[in-house]
């Protein structure tokens, strides 16, 4: 959990993924499309990947990846991100966290 928090606060937009997860690929594409350059951490290439996945699950993230943090705050998984994107709040969150400027 600490590792997760540590990494999540390092950049305005942080996404935890797995190299084999294609939905993660979708969410990454969405962020790039919005002009954000999120920090990507692949759990299957992290030393404490399994604990981190467990920690993410405890945060309520199902499936555990992709897990999105904006401004150090846990936003959710793919479903939440898409929902926030549709109602416009994702963009606002990114602007507030200075991940994007417009």
């Amino acid at each position: 959990m600490d590792r997760v928090r540590e990494l999540a606060s390092k950049k305005a937009a942080v996404i935890f993924t797995k190299s084999s997860c294609c939905m993660c690929h979708s969410i990454k594409s969405l962020f790039y499309e919005l002009g954000a350059s999120p920090a990507i951490h692949e759990l299957d290439h992290e030393a404490s990947g399994r604990e981190m996945e467990w920690a993410l699950r405890n945060l309520g993230c199902t499936p555990s990846v992709p897990a999105v943090f904006i401004g150090g705050r846990f936003i959710g998984s793919a479903k939440d991100v898409i929902s926030y994107h549709v109602d416009g709040s994702l963009k606002q969150m990114l602007i507030d966290a200075k991940a994007i400027w417009f």
Binding site: S20, C21, C22, M23, C24, H25, S26, I27, S29, L30, E33, L34, P63, A78, K79, I82, S83, H85, V86, D87, G88, K91
Partner: protein, 450 residues
């Protein structure tokens, strides 16, 4: 069969008529009718009483009365003999003598009426047809017995015994006839409902054939498990479409009749809530057979043209609606345009994820380690490959779910941007558009081919 037992008026189904009759009984015959009532039950199982025939109305309203009149004739004769108390018998004889001429006249006088009433009476008289024959039988019986009414008591007793047997036989006949009629009725009803079901099934089959779904013959059980999920969804989707039509019609009439905003809001909410149903159905069906949903085979061909991840593209729909929803405020216009943009972005993102999935799957299946000769290693590799590929296929369900979520969220956001009336018009426009697509499909499938 209406049962009329003077001793127990509660069971009298003829109602007031019976009550009237009962009072008549009391005034005319005293205790006579009570014994008569019991005897009737015992001997004839018809529960009819004599004085009713006095109440016979020519219009045939008292259908039971004709039978009862006949029964009276029988019962009077029968009960007379069976009465242990002979003291009353002597009293009754004159009564009987009185009544005989009446009885004699009745068959002739009222038979036509009763015949008419029999034909006029419908549903409650299930045994009316047999009553005719029964009446005829009774009439035949009434004749000779009436004729012998004036003879001495010993002759009459023989008649009464014969009549009793005859009456019992007739009663049994009646019962048997009634039971067979009821059975026939039930059977016919069963046939009717089966026929309806058959036509419904044929229609569904026709519709499914038109959509190009492979209809396996009854013996093919190989893909029954998947087929069941797919077919079950198709049926549920068809039902959902019908319900949607009903809701939309309600909405249309509400819009055309310019109902108030609060009422319109309720109807609009009904429609949007109903939309949630189909997404729930799709979710369940995807768990059983994700490929059926993704293939779009549950949609009509023209709809399938625009298929994206198992459904419609929200961005396309918004593009169509913006032009149709005029007049819009600038703010609404901006909001809708942004919404179209964001849904487009989300669609692209999901499409990219799908492409990545395809690529990954292809790589997994194409991957074969070069130069490995060990057979067990190959098998292990193969199994490993398959396991990985299986895992990747499993993520398809997730993509479908996100696509449906996107559709739902987009519609929700659209309604947030619009007034109630605009929402109503938007829903009507969406429905009309898809209806036209479906109509186009039908035309296309029915087009003449060389």
């Amino acid at each position: 069969m209406p049962s009329f037992v003077p001793a127990t008026p509660a069971s009298n189904s003829i109602g007031s008529e019976g009550n009237v009759v009962q009072s008549n009984q009391n005034t005319d015959f005293g205790s006579f009718e009570h014994s008569l009532g019991f005897r009737i039950e015992d001997a004839i199982n018809l529960s009819r009483t004599d004085p009713v025939f006095n109440q016979i109305k020519p219009n045939g309203r008292a259908l039971g009365t004709d039978i009862q009149a006949r029964a009276f004739n029988k019962s009077v004769v029968a009960s007379e003999r069976d009465q242990s108390s002979t003291a009353s018998a002597s009293q009754r004889i004159p009564l009987q003598k009185e009544s005989q001429p009446n009885l004699l006249s009745i068959p002739g006088g009222h038979s036509e009426n009763w015949g008419d009433s029999n034909m006029a009476d419908t549903s409650p008289r299930t045994d009316s047809s047999s009553d005719d024959t029964d009446d005829r039988n009774q009439r035949l019986e009434a004749g000779p017995s009436a004729a012998l009414g004036a003879s001495d008591s010993s002759g009459r007793s023989k008649e009464k015994a014969v009549d009793q047997k005859t009456l019992r036989r007739l009663a049994q006949n009646r019962e048997a006839a009634r039971k067979s009629r009821l059975r026939k009725k039930a059977y016919v009803q069963q046939l009717e409902s089966s026929r309806l079901k058959l036509t419904q099934l044929e229609q569904e089959l026709q519709r499914a054939r038109q959509q190009g779904i492979f209809i396996s013959s009854s013996g093919d059980q190989s893909h029954s498990s998947n087929g069941n999920g797919a077919m079950a969804f198709d049926v549920e989707y068809a039902r959902w479409l019908e319900e949607q039509n009903r809701h939309i019609n309600e909405l249309r009439s509400a819009v055309n009749s310019h109902v108030g905003d609060t009422e319109l809001r309720i109807i609009v909410d009904n429609v949007t809530t109903h939309f949630d149903d189909i997404y729930r159905l799709k979710d369940t069906a995807a768990k059983a057979d994700v490929f059926h949903i993704l293939s779009g085979m549950w949609k009509t061909p023209a709809e399938r043209c625009f298929l994206w991840l198992g459904g419609f593209r929200s961005s396309e729909l918004l593009k169509l609606l913006i032009s149709q929803l005029e007049p819009l405020t600038d703010q609404q216009m901006m909001g809708l345009y942004n919404l179209q943009q964001t849904s487009q972005q989300a669609e692209d993102a999901l499409s990219q994820g799908m492409e990545a999935l395809q690529q990954s799957l292809a790589e997994t299946l194409a991957n074969s380690p070069p130069g490995s000769t060990e057979s067990s290693g190959n098998v292990a590799n193969y199994m490993g490959q398959m396991a990985m590929a299986m895992g990747k296929l499993g993520t398809l369900e997730g993509f479908l779910r996100q696509a449906d979520n996107l559709r739902q969220q987009t519609l929700l956001q659209m309604h947030r941007l619009l007034t109630t009336r605009q929402s109503a018009r938007a829903l009507l426009a969406i429905h009309d558009y898809f209806s036209r697509l479906r109509a186009l499909s039908s035309l296309w499938l029915a087009r003449p081919r060389e």
